[in-house]
């Protein structure tokens, strides 16, 4: 946690990519791919997008990919030989340009992946990733970070926090040893900052839309009010867009895919919104209507997660609402729960 602050020019990012590449470290940054803005491996700084409010999919895919191999196996006669993943098979990464909301969501993913079984896949990826967050100068009507304890200046789980001070320059603060190491490794691209900046003043002020503590206290009483959950979820189609775009959602499925000679065990994302999410082999489905699945989503994020892991499992990034094909607007639904 160096107390020295630096400046990074956008024009130096190409050099940063090259320095990292020479050490086999990949840069993951927001890029326009087709019609979407997503985090992808970036070899050329000109591909990086800076001007957006949010990417379509969050940076969660860098630490918790949609599809990852957790082990492989091969058949030898009647035996099966299993091969675990080696730590070296996980790449060294710099996550560049995450927003404060999705960086602080790393803490929520971490809480899930370390509360009981230590998830070696997430932990290894996190250990090998340096997180560079860029604070937000603007926001839109879908953002509600400040209502759930985050903000455009939230520095949790960032190794380096960058504040745009002009169109071309970032004010750089290193927050952890990983951040210091990166700055040391790429010293050539960071220049001294000649003054201290009050980061909060530079960044957006997002109005608080509801009282999350009051909502959290109220939710258990709303559990049995099925008519509320039904009303809110009437237009929900039960797809997985919200859960997959969310930087804090961590549900997953395990799938074995085999060929003649062996196969792989894969972990992939899953969503509590799918009708088959809780379908038992017997045919019984404890959450057999969309209203119960919608209730689960809200209760999990704003009630159960707080009870068990001491945090609200939402960072107010608004991706769920922007991506929803039928305009299920989470902050609107939460406000209406407050009024119920």
């Amino acid at each position: 946690m160096s107390s020295e602050t630096k400046i990074l020019k956008k024009s130096s990012v190409q050099k940063l990519i090259e320095i990292l590449a020479s050490a086999n470290i990949r840069l993951m940054a927001p890029q326009k791919k087709g019609a979407a803005l997503i985090f992808a491996e970036t070899k050329s700084a000109s591909e990086i997008s800076y001007d957006h409010i949010q990417t379509d999919l969050s940076a969660k895919s860098v630490l918790f990919p949609q599809t990852e191999e957790i082990l492989s196996y091969s058949y030898a006669g009647r035996d099966v030989n299993m091969k675990e993943r080696e730590a070296e098979s996980f790449p060294e990464l710099v996550l560049f340009g995450a927003r404060p909301c999705e960086s602080s969501a790393i803490g929520l993913l971490n809480a899930v992946f370390t509360w009981d079984t230590q998830d070696v896949f997430f932990k290894t990826r996190l250990a090998k990733t340096t997180v560079i967050t860029i604070g937000c100068k603007k926001f839109d009507e879908y953002c509600f970070c400040t209502s759930v304890g985050c903000s455009p200046a939230d520095k949790r789980f960032s190794d380096i926090f960058m504040t745009p001070v002009s169109d071309e320059e970032f004010y750089v603060e290193s927050l952890t040893k990983k951040g210091d190491d990166l700055i040391k490794r790429a010293a050539a691209v960071f220049t001294m900052a000649n003054k201290t900046i009050d980061v909060e003043k530079e960044l957006a002020k997002v109005p608080v839309l509801f009282d999350i503590d009051a909502l959290n206290k109220k939710l258990p009483d709303l559990f049995n009010r099925v008519e509320i959950w039904k009303e809110q979820s009437l237009r929900c189609l039960g797809c997985g867009a919200c859960a997959y775009a969310c930087p804090a959602c961590a549900c997953f499925d395990i799938q074995d895919e085999s060929g003649k000679e062996g196969g792989k065990r894969l972990r992939c994302w899953d969503s509590c919104g799918f009708s088959t999410f809780t379908l038992h082999t017997s045919g019984h489905n404890p959450r057999h209507i969309q209203a119960e699945r919608w209730r689960q989503r809200v209760m999990h994020k704003f009630s159960y997660f707080k009870d068990r892991l001491k945090s609200i499992a939402c960072v107010g990034c608004g991706r769920c609402s922007r991506n929803c094909p039928v305009d299920m607007n989470l902050s609107e639904h939460l406000k209406s729960l407050m009024e119920a």
Partner: protein, 267 residues
């Protein structure tokens, strides 16, 4: 708008209809589906050029049907979906009310599905110029370029199934992608699995897709999926002279045949 609101209110007040499936504006200005059951709430209903979601997707949902007889405010694509669903024996003529709307705020209360069939004969059903242009652009590519185009697009697919969920014709309660005995379509989103899923889905919609474009609009990563199903729809029209959702005659393009169907590609 007044006319629509009055029709809707009248239907609810008379008790003939228990829920109006229509469009209202959400707090961010986006248009969204609404299920109006109280006559006084009909004033929220609206129609404009942004009312493009195909509301037929709600016609088979038990949560909506348990309210009772619905009336659906139907743009052209929704009307076609209603006819196609009727053709596939999913809804019966007389089970729902359909209030059609067209450009210029023309509103038509259909007495039965046959009237929809008649009315659609007078409507241009060609693809929008954007969609037609994209299909043309892809057609003009060579095989390698086409492959690369789709590989690039499907590399972003995250298997969220927003495409399937938003499609009124994807009503299978046991979708092939949920089948794991055997696992024909993969759940993880590797590129090969994504391709297989989208190929399967597009072909399962052959002759059934009404070209509403909701699948492409629903995709959170902007893959132009609607182009796949629309391209097949155009091929079905060109080869078999059929468009989905234009007739109540039960004759699905891929389960009927003519003796002189072309076979120039079969040796």
């Amino acid at each position: 708008m007044e006319k629509l609101i009055n029709i809707a209110r009248g239907l609810l007040e008379s008790g003939k209809v228990k829920t109006i499936i229509g469009y209202v504006e959400g707090p961010t200005g986006r248009i969204r589906a609404a299920f109006i059951r109280k006559p006084e709430e009909c004033s929220k209903l609206l129609i404009n050029q942004n009312c493009i979601q195909n509301l037929a997707v709600y016609l088979l949902k038990p949560e909506i049907r348990e309210f009772g007889r619905p009336a659906v405010i139907a743009n052209i694509a929704t009307q076609r979906s209603v006819l196609q669903l009727a053709q596939e024996c999913q809804i019966a003529d007389g089970e729902i009310d359909v209030i059609g709307f067209y450009a210029g705020n023309t509103i038509v209360e259909f007495k039965n599905f046959t009237e929809i069939e008649q009315r659609l004969k007078e409507v241009k059903l060609e693809l929008t110029s954007d969609d037609a242009k994209l299909i043309e652009k892809i057609n003009a590519m060579d095989t390698k370029q086409k492959w690369q185009f789709w590989v690039d697009e499907f590399s972003r697919c995250i298997k969220c199934y927003a495409c399937r969920s938003s499609c009124p014709m994807c009503y299978c309660s046991r979708c092939l992608c949920d089948c794991n005995q055997p696992q024909i379509l993969s759940a993880p989103s590797h590129l090969l699995g994504n391709l297989e899923w989208h190929i399967t889905r597009a072909m399962h919609l052959a002759g059934r897709c009404v070209a509403c474009g909701d699948c492409g609009r629903a995709c959170p990563v902007g893959i132009p999926l609607h182009i796949l199903t629309m391209k097949i729809a155009e091929d079905v029209l060109k080869n078999f002279g059929k468009r989905a959702g234009t007739t109540l005659v039960k004759e699905y393009a891929l389960s009927s045949f003519k003796n002189d169907d072309r076979e120039d590609f079969i040796k």
